[in-house]
């Protein structure tokens, strides 16, 4: 059983569990929407201000919603100790981690697919000419969020106060990702949209570094 094969099987399991209840996904989307709407109540931005602060707001909404969504990733496995069952199976620990990362990536992407058009409508930002570049930036940013978030979900599931601990661990680590993603998105929302190679490279670099670190450390992460 290859790692990728096992990860695929576990991905199927995660998707099946989620689409049966759909509670996590809907809660994530609603929460992100609430953040977006709250911003407009708190700041009452003009059109120019929306354009200026929009990208930051979008990514903050994703990060907050993501930190909440990533928690159940591993804490769900604690009912009936199903994580033990997975660890006993003849699959590598990284397969377990990878399966969850892929599932979380899909969930976040679905949430983003709903949120970005809504956001564009609420803040009068046209995304017509920049769709594919925006998708690239969103994917790279989401990958970073999901990779570190899944690892920290495994960490915080074993600690007390895990709902509070996960954002506490995750958000400081993600600040470089946030900066790069916001800058990239901002340059795409401008009159003359452009996509800087440095920013994309940075995001990709961030993802690669932390994915590699997860792969190297996964044995220690999941052992009892």
């Amino acid at each position: 059983m290859t790692t990728v094969g096992a990860a695929g099987i576990l991905l199927g399991k995660e998707l099946r569990l989620e689409f049966r209840s759909r509670e996590l996904l809907s809660a994530t989307i609603i929460f992100a929407l609430v953040v977006v709407v709250l911003f407009s109540f708190a700041f009452d931005p003009t059109a120019a201000e929306s354009r200026r602060y929009g990208p930051g707001l979008l990514w903050i909404a994703f990060l907050f919603a993501g930190s909440l969504m990533l928690n159940p990733s591993f804490s769900r496995e604690q009912t009936n100790e199903t994580l033990d069952a997975l660890r006993m199976a003849p699959i590598s620990p990284f397969a377990i981690l990878l399966g969850k990362m892929l599932a979380n990536f899909i969930f976040m992407s679905v949430a983003e697919l709903v949120l970005v058009p809504v956001f564009a409508v609420l803040y009068n930002i046209s995304i017509v000419g920049i769709v594919w570049r925006l998708v690239l930036v969103l994917s790279l940013g989401t990958t970073g969020l999901v990779v570190t978030g899944t690892v920290f979900s495994a960490v915080s599931a074993q600690a007390r106060m895990r709902e509070l601990l996960l954002p506490l661990l995750l958000l400081p680590i993600l600040t470089p990702l946030l900066i790069a993603a916001v800058e990239s998105t901002a340059s795409l929302f401008q009159e003359q949209p452009s996509l800087d190679r440095t920013r994309v490279a940075f995001l990709a670099g961030f993802d690669i570094v932390f994915l590699t670190a997860s792969w190297l450390l996964c044995d220690y992460l999941l052992e009892d």
């Binding site: 920290f152 680590i173 600040t175 670099g205 670190a213």
Partner: protein, 242 residues
Amino acid sequence: MKGRLAYTGITAALVFFAGYAALFLAPDEATMHAVQRIFYFHVGSWNAMFCALFVVFCANVAYLLTRKQKYDALGVSGVEVAVMCCTIGLVTGPLWAKPVWGIYWTWDARLTSTFILWLLYIAYLLLRGLLEDPEKKASLSAIFGIFAFLDVPMVYLSNRLWRTQHPQPVILGGAGSGMAPMIAKVLVLCIVAMFFLMVLVFIDRYRLEQLRNECEELRFEIESRSAQVQSLPPSAAQRMSS
């Protein structure tokens, strides 16, 4: 013991002399005058902090590879010392900034990055506080420590690349650019003194952690010996105690 006493003596002398030099020997700076003297300690604490963090990273990796408790002790000691240095830096900065720039804080690259660093390593300490089993505490905080250290260069890089549109107050005129020789010498002395001080506190904290672990081990030994005695038949137990 002798070595430690000697080291403490050297450190005390260095710190005393550095303090004296910073306050009295160094010439008064042209524009900022007396308040500028904070920078001697400000810069020193950053340098000490980064050295401590590097040691923490090595200790974290060593723990995961060898599972020896001493590396965990080294890790937590280093983080506490680094957080202390960082706090000193973050506090002395605004104290200096207010009279000089008129504001306590600005979100420029360096300050923002360092603040995030402080948050990262406070999170490390909080994580340890929320884990009970000692082995879990050690391995999970080692994992987080490694992630945090990998993040540090990225934090600084991202801030440097993309936070330059904010006004950049000139901190020292760039450290080392056109500094009077005397100021440079005192600066180096203070950096060295802060480094020695950091190492002293680090070692002390490490020894404290080791002593705590030793106590736990002794308690464990006593408890397991008494359990052994209890499980023996009465005659054997009597023979053991006489």
